[in-house]
């Protein structure tokens, strides 16, 4: 093993504690998730917070994991795309991306899925412009965003109708 790594710390990801050993201090949370913890869902496409592919939720905030120094995330609650669906099943957002044609190459998809969960959890009934602004940090090169907009709107509508049914 190389001489560059010596950091040891613990991260809480998707409700599980992970011990990170012999790491280099400069490793981003994205790198650690993907290469050390076996959670490759978050993707790297720019390394500087300009594409959103690596979006994860840390303490209820959607952030770019490429810009989080992994060792500084000790004590935080981290959620990745792997931890969104109930018991390994698809979340409503994931299902909607499939139904609406929001997935092509799929590289931006995990980042979008996380960002959309975060958006709809904080704003269940967003306008088209609110959706676009909230997702303006997630670049998609394949779809031109049209099917993704549809996917988000479908979830929002179905969540509201579910909520209404529940209220009855």
């Amino acid at each position: 093993m190389t001489a560059i790594g010596s950091e040891m710390y613990t991260l809480s990801v998707n409700g599980r504690e992970h011990h990170v050993r012999d790491s280099w201090i400069g490793e981003s949370l994205l790198f650690v998730l993907r290469e050390r913890l076996g959670l490759p869902g978050a993707k790297g496409a720019c390394e500087q917070g300009e594409c959103g592919s690596c979006t994860v939720i840390i303490d209820d905030k959607a952030v770019c994991s490429c810009l989080v120094m992994a060792a500084s995330a000790q004590g935080a609650s981290i959620r990745t795309v792997e931890g969104l669906g109930p018991d390994g099943r698809l979340s409503d957002v994931q299902q909607s991306f499939l139904d609406a044609g929001g997935v092509q190459c799929g590289f931006c998809t995990p980042g979008f899925i996380v960002a959309v969960h975060h958006l709809l959890d904080s704003n269940p009934d967003p306008s088209d412009l609110e959706i676009k602004e909230a997702l303006s940090g997630n670049i998609c090169r394949c779809t031109g965003y049209g099917r993704i907009l549809d996917a988000v709107k479908q979830v929002s509508v179905s969540r509201r109708s579910t909520a209404k049914d529940g209220a009855r």
Binding site: I4, L90, Q94, V103, C142
Partner: protein, 758 residues
């Protein structure tokens, strides 16, 4: 859409929104892209690149890098066992630049390392000392054409020069319009960066490569030659591909990764970062185009003259083919009998350029569609009318002499686009996110002017000039299970879904397994040129039909029936003249059938010295109408709506078609107003997503799309490729809309704010 449906098609068959077989994994984060590939005992690889665009390597000293703890191997040109060169058309690009030889572009590979951690790799690269004799880079294509530039490469500084001369050149128009146009260097900017995992065979005499590519077999051919191995010792498996758009046609890290793995005897992964990706793949050719249109007073085109110069950068890649695509599409989707076109693709010390969605036609289309608006203005005719007046039809002759015998519904595309309602006017107090400047709140309602612009295009489908880009597919039934195998690169377009749709439709089954996409079956050709639906669709269809015929023959024999009367109907086999009916599933449960089929398109020809010849296979057409809001004083633009009607032959998957159209439009929008690799004196100045700007959600327009469905008889499924047309004429449509709003000439894309307002 003129579809007549008797009964709704069965779920998952052709014509339906089948679900992607890779969809669930992609939304859950479990889909393995090539950058996610991992193997026990794996090392990381990295590449050292030249900072200079033109220099001679005096020496390379790797001794300090070897001393770094964790470094396992360092390789240079001396370690390349086979041919130290690769390339799609000619092999003029070194695997590594060699001591004593030249580096010809900034970013050219010189060495590679493998180590235990990416950070170790970085340190090792920093520790390699390379001494250069630096030269002034050749960056002006005209200097190369004039023969005034120093020779950059033994193959010369001109990749190809081709003229097209046709008709009566003495014809003069009543109305003549001309312009000099420039197209900037666009990047494909797929999100999934270049990555590969190479696993050496235990004996060290072969290698398996998991790679994101567009064409597995072509990669294998080039890799094997460089490694000095027989092709069967190099096995390629498609790693998940995060978009391609032309940037994965050429070799990038393939040979480097295999070499490191073979040298260390350990699995090696190389994964580029975004900056390295800008150096690692070819880009869209920047081009300068002069065009002069002659027309009658009432607007009919009588002659076109043009000169096109494509800057191919340091290595050939597909430059000669891109050039031919550009010049043979000079006329656009319009009738024209007389033309003279002079085209050059040249070598410079700029970044190498090659394939990108639209492949040369994007550049030509920007020029001819700019010209059409000029011509309309000069003749006093509406831009839509002038396009209708000149619209090409099936049976028309191109300036290459080739007769367009594809379905050519140009007029229908224009009329259907025009029929799409315009967006409502901007409200009196619009949300700042909805107007030019967006989040920056630069403008108020009074600063905004609206413009409308048109673009119409023709695009060749498949490879041209005599190339037999066939495709292969294998269909098997074993123990009642249908599986399909092919080497078609799934890059996001959804071929995996289409293959299942074809098999379900032809064979009458619901479950279709897809075998691994690798080199263990014949070539599929490249996922490019809008060709896989036609070519690999054709191959899968042929393989499935062959299997179906055997199934029917079996049924006929078993039941003593005439096979000619048997057909698949839904999930049953029926006697079309009687009442016999049996479930396909019951028939195939005990059958073993294995059929492999190749699909070849009709042959094409080279162009002669006058640019005459049947060089293309088929064509697709599309019209775009862009509505833009412009802030003329700040030069900022918001594309409000793009309406489009596209000639697709037949819609095989509605959502996929819409996805291709919307995605292509976003890329064309990028070229129109923001995307450009800025190169100064051979150096890329913006190799990052901070400075190479892609359209965001707030930049994307509303897209209103209509599909013109006229079954293409030449196509095995009646469908045309839909991938490239969306991104071609939308760029000039947006440019024309900005011109319409501002009155500016705007001879260049991308249109920068200062082009509009200063």
């Amino acid at each position: 859409m003129n579809v007549s449906v008797v009964s709704p098609p069965r779920s998952g068959t052709l014509g339906t929104n089948a679900s992607r077989p890779d969809g669930v994994a992609k939304v859950q984060g479990g889909f393995a892209f090539s950058s996610d590939m991992w193997a026990e005992n794996m090392l990381w690889g990295a590449t050292l690149r030249s900072p200079h665009p033109f220099a001679r390597i005096v020496s390379i000293d790797v001794s300090a890098a070897w001393k770094i703890n964790g470094v396992e191997v360092i390789v240079t040109a001396d370690d390349v066992p086979g041919l130290n060169a690769y390339g799609l058309i000619v092999q003029d690009q070194p695997v590594f630049a060699k001591v004593g030889d030249l580096v010809r572009y900034s970013g050219e590979p010189i060495a590679a390392v493998a180590a235990d951690h990416p950070e170790t790799c970085k340190r090792a690269l920093e520790a390699i000392k390379v001494e250069y004799e630096v030269f002034n880079p050749v960056v002006d294509p005209e200097e190369c054409i004039a023969g005034r530039a120093p020779e950059i490469h033994p193959h010369g500084n001109v990749y190809r020069h081709q003229r097209i001369v046709t008709g009566d050149l003495s014809v003069e128009g009543d109305v003549v319009v001309e312009g000099d146009y420039e197209i900037g260097m666009q990047d494909q900017a797929f999100l999934g960066l270049e990555a590969a995992l190479a696993i050496p065979d235990s004996g060290g005499d072969g290698v398996e490569l998991y790679i994101a590519t567009q064409w597995l077999h072509e990669d294998r051919k080039q890799i094997a030659a460089c490694l000095g191995l027989p092709e069967e010792k190099v096995r390629l498996v498609l790693g998940g591909v995060g978009g391609a758009f032309g940037a994965r046609e050429d070799i990038s890290l393939q040979v480097h990764t295999c070499l490191l793995a073979l040298r260390t005897g350990r699995p090696v992964r190389i994964a580029y970062g975004r900056e390295e990706s800008f150096y690692g793949h070819v880009h869209r050719h920047p081009a300068r185009i002069w065009m002069r249109h002659h027309a009658t007073r009432d607007g009919r085109i009588v002659k076109i003259e043009s000169r096109m110069v494509f800057d191919g950068g340091a290595y050939c890649s597909t430059s000669p083919a891109v050039l031919i695509n550009g010049i043979t599409h000079t006329q656009g989707p319009y009738k024209c009998d007389n033309a003279v076109v002079d085209g050059y693709a040249v070598r410079t010390n700029n970044p190498p350029c090659g394939a990108m969605r639209g492949f040369g036609v994007v550049q030509a289309c920007y020029a001819h569609e700019s010209q059409m608006d000029k011509l309309a203005a000069a003749c006093g005719i509406d831009p839509v009318e002038i396009r209708l007046l000149n619209a090409m039809e099936t049976g028309d002759k191109l300036i290459t002499g080739q007769v367009v015998n594809s379905v050519a519904p140009v007029e229908e595309c224009i009329r259907a686009t025009a029929a799409i309602p315009l967006p409502p006017d901007l409200e009196s107090d619009p949300d700042f996110r909805d107007i030019p400047g967006g989040s920056g709140r630069t403008a108020d309602r009074s600063h905004i002017r609206r413009g409308i612009g048109w673009g119409v295009s023709i695009k060749n489908l498949m490879y041209s000039e005599g190339f037999d880009d066939y495709s292969t597919a294998r269909c098997r039934i074993s123990n009642g299970v249908v599986s399909v195998k092919f080497a078609t690169a799934e890059v996001g377009q959804g071929f995996v879904m289409l293959a299942q749709q074809i098999a379900r439709t032809v064979l009458g089954v619901d479950e279709v397994l897809l075998d691994t996409i690798d080199t263990q079956v014949g070539s599929a050709g490249s996922t490019s040129a809008s060709r896989q639906t036609w070519m690999s669709g054709g191959a899968v269809n042929a393989a499935c039909v062959a299997v179906r015929d055997k199934v029917l023959a079996h049924v006929a024999q078993y039941h003593d029936m005439d096979v000619a009367n048997l057909a698949v109907d839904g999930t049953d086999i029926v006697d079309t003249r009687g009442s016999f009916r049996v479930a396909v599933a019951d028939v195939i449960s005990h059958l073993d059938i294995d059929e492999t089929a190749e699909y070849h398109h009709p042959p094409t020809e080279d162009l002669d010295e006058n640019g005459q010849g049947n060089c293309h296979v088929a064509f697709a057409f599309v019209a775009h109408r862009a509505v833009v809001d412009v802030d003329p004083e700040l030069g900022l633009v918001k594309v409000v709506q793009v309406a489009t009607a596209q000639d697709v032959g037949r819609v095989l998957n509605p959502l996929s078609c819409v996805g291709q159209v919307e995605g292509g439009i976003a890329q064309g929008l990028g070229l129109a107003v923001m995307e450009e690799i800025v190169v100064t004196n051979g150096k890329v100045r913006n190799p990052s997503f901070t400075d190479y700007l892609l359209p965001t959600f707030l930049d994307a327009p509303d897209v209103e799309a209509v599909f013109i469905e006229e079954f293409e008889p030449k196509s095995p499924l009646g469908a045309k490729g839909v991938g490239e047309p969306p991104c071609i004429s939308v760029t000039p449509a947006i440019a024309n809309a900005i011109r319409n709003a501002t009155g500016r000439e705007l001879p260049r894309v991308p249109i920068r704010p200062y082009d509009v307002c200063l």
